[in-house]
Amino acid sequence: MKTPLSYWLSLPVAAAVLAPLAVLAWLGLQAELAFDAGNAAIVINSVLLTMLTVLGAILLGVPLALATTYIRLPGRPLWLALLAAPLAIPSYLGAFAYFAAFGPGGTLENLTGVNTPNLRGLAGATLVMTLYTYPFVLLTTRSALRHLNPAMLDAARTLGLSPGRALLSVVLPRARNGIAAGALLVALYTLSDFGTPAILRLDTFTRMIFVEYNAFGLDRAALLSLQLLALVAVILWLETRFGAERERPTRTATLDLGAGWRAATMTAGLLLMLAALALPLLVFGDYFWREGVGDFDPILAWHSAYAAGLAAIVAVVVALPVAYAAGLGRRGRLLERIAHLGFGVPGIVLATALVYVGLQLSVLYQTLALLVIGYVLRFLPLAVGSLRTRLERIEHHQIAAARSLGAAPFEAFRRITLPLALPGIVAGAALVFLEAMRELPATLLLQPTGFETLATYLWRVYEAGYLGRGAVPALLLVLISVGALVALLTGEERAGEARGA
């Protein structure tokens, strides 16, 4: 059996994904520093923040999932979109807003005259991370609930349980895996997140890697990166242990819990939206109101779009053979898994490795190419994923039919595979583009000198303390996030339709 071309093309991709890990391992081994008290504090801070955020996300996400699944809310699709929206907003925007809103001289004091305490450290970071990650739990739990057979709920009711008791004793235990899946995503996101702890000054791994990098301690940054990767590996390992159980629901159940519950749910949802969505808009809107466009340079937006656009194109081109190979056999699926690793590697960690690569390979040093490589390695799974779902729907028989009608392999690829995969290519490129536009830590480390983007400019503004100048880039980033959310939701809708057909 001849090895398919797509395997050969995927091999260098897999190697490129693994290379940064090898670089880190090599660098980390050279570090001469032992594990000390400072390092222990970093571990404790990271683990505490992760655990508290997971707890907060479960406390918010699970009740909201139950409410949006079983209670007939007026305008339910809108509620769902709104409640999921914080996920689309990079948490550093939230952190920036909370940093600016609270404390003496903050936006809240300026607008209302009420003194608010500073939101810094563990408490502030936990609050912000929870507000922007709970939708993970909401979505996975909801999806688990929707795959439960509602007849169970009916059976529990006929056996004499009240609606509330039925939910607690029959429904929730079976949604356990869904909740766990969401919690693990929250943990992964929190461990990887750079912006929130950096802005709210909590010494977690991501913040300290950046600090070490700035202090020219690349080996120490690599050592911390390896420790962080070990934590990530634990989360990923846990993830493999929770497979989603699937039942075949015939219909979705609704519980009529009365107007009181409906009002309570909507009030809670509204408060959450105020905290996660309205407050940042208020802060940035207030700055914009007071300072206007100021000296905002549109070149920033162009830089962001340019780098992200290049990344999107490269990512789909590279993703095509990987996604194709994944459908061919076991070795192909292994290559795809490797390509997925980029998602587990925090941006700051990936960037640390690439900075070192840039230092060794002078062709790449301080180039846009290195930044684009960083984006591609980090967001490749998005492109591979959306391509794969399309390619999976192409039957081998359709290709065989084209071949037997006289089409050579390339013609069959061009006339059947490519047009059928096109929506996936576009969706994958859009996702990579929108993610790369908003990426912060890798951009900070890999941007060529003078190549300032929206995200890095916001960071400089924060570092320099001229928060007001952040209004325009922040509002633009919010706008891009809305675009990402819309793209994601319509993509999901279409995928749903396709499954229904």
């Binding site: 065989a400 037997s404 006289g406 050579a408 392999p409 059928l420 057909a501």
Partner: protein, 337 residues
């Protein structure tokens, strides 16, 4: 037109096809039938060029394909029809059928013949199963194949459609004058649609021949049982005659038989009556509409099935007389101990 000569196909270490010889005449339809995993689909895929032969060769017209010369599928001029239709979902019916045609006249012809005129601009997703299979057939035939290959073309369709489309496809193949290899797991379909039937088992052809021959004079007990209800009654063979407890019948020509044999009895080879010498008991009966099928236990313990007119109603437990009533020679196999 098509000839297979000692064809062997392997999937890694497993041998799916273990040496098949088969020749199709111009315009001949041969059905390949057998249980799941017998290798029938693999034969088809090898002919289409989707699997490479490990040994032996495949001749399509003047093309000779073997392990050293694996001609790619697009060079073979074979038309493939799948059970899942394999229409191109992004092209409408017309563009599916004209996929690689320069001259679209054949497309018009087959659209008309197969009654697809009304749906020519419909997208495949909007068609019924029967329409999809007609489009797939029209697409293949319009590309003027030298040979048609059909892989269980009817198994995704409901029962009522199956029988009518069976004739429609056969007529279209005959009208096109193209030889066809038609794979199915349904013995009724295999017997009614093929000019000849090939019965496969474990990667080998057990028998190839006209449907009547295969059914009435099967080459093995496996073929006998696979193609229909079959029971084996001990008997003695002498000078072209078979003597059994249920009567005497002439033996079909064939390989020489020992004295002790088992005679193949189909349900319609037996007559049943409540009169006369009771030699069997009715165990149960199945109403089939025009006929009834009774399971019988002979007093000797042998189990048989008899098919009789639906007017003969017998309760389980009824003692009956049964005898061989076939007007044709019967097939026998050496006694199995």
């Amino acid at each position: 037109m098509l000839s297979l000569d000692g064809l062997v196909v392997r999937y890694g270490d497993t041998v799916a096809v273990r040496g098949i010889d088969l020749t199709l005449a111009d315009n001949e339809i041969v059905t390949l039938v057998g249980p799941t995993g017998c290798g029938k689909t693999t034969v088809l895929r090898a002919v289409a060029g989707l699997e490479a032969p490990a040994k032996g060769c495949i001749c399509i017209g003047d093309l000779t394909i073997d392990a050293s010369n694996p001609v790619p599928p697009e060079k073979r001029r074979t038309g493939l029809v799948f059970q899942d239709f394999a229409l191109f979902p992004h092209l409408d019916v017309y563009r599916n059928i004209t996929f690689r045609l320069r001259d679209t006249a054949p497309a018009e012809h087959w659209l008309a013949v197969l009654g697809l005129g009304a749906v020519r601009h419909a997208m495949p997703d909007t068609l019924s199963g029967g329409q999809k299979q007609r489009v797939a057939l029209a697409r293949s035939l319009a590309h003027a194949p030298a040979l048609m290959l059909l892989d269980e073309p009817l198994s995704n369709l409901d029962a009522a459609l199956k029988t009518s489309l069976r004739w429609e496809i056969r007529d279209a193949l005959k009208a096109a004058g193209v030889p066809a290899l038609w794979v199915t797991h349904d013995q009724d379909e295999a017997l009614s649609v093929g000019d000849r039937v090939g019965i496969m088992r474990d990667g080998r052809l057990e028998q190839v021949g006209p449907p009547e021959t295969c059914f009435r004079d099967p080459a093995s007990r496996f073929v006998a049982e696979f193609l229909g209800e079959a029971a084996f009654l001990p008997g003695r063979h002498a000078a072209g005659w078979l003597d059994t407890a249920l009567g005497r019948a002439s033996a079909t020509d064939g390989p020489s038989l020992p004295d002790d044999v088992d005679v193949l009895l189909r349900p319609d080879d037996l007559a049943l009556s409540t009169q006369g010498d009771h030699n069997a008991e009715v165990l149960n009966g199945r109403y089939e509409g025009e006929t009834r099928l009774y399971q019988l236990r002979l007093n000797s313990g042998t189990m048989l099935k008899a098919r009789v007119n639906h007017e003969v109603v017998l309760a389980p437990g009824t003692a009956v007389h049964t005898r061989i009533a076939a007007g044709h020679p019967l097939t026998a196999f050496p006694r199995q101990t």
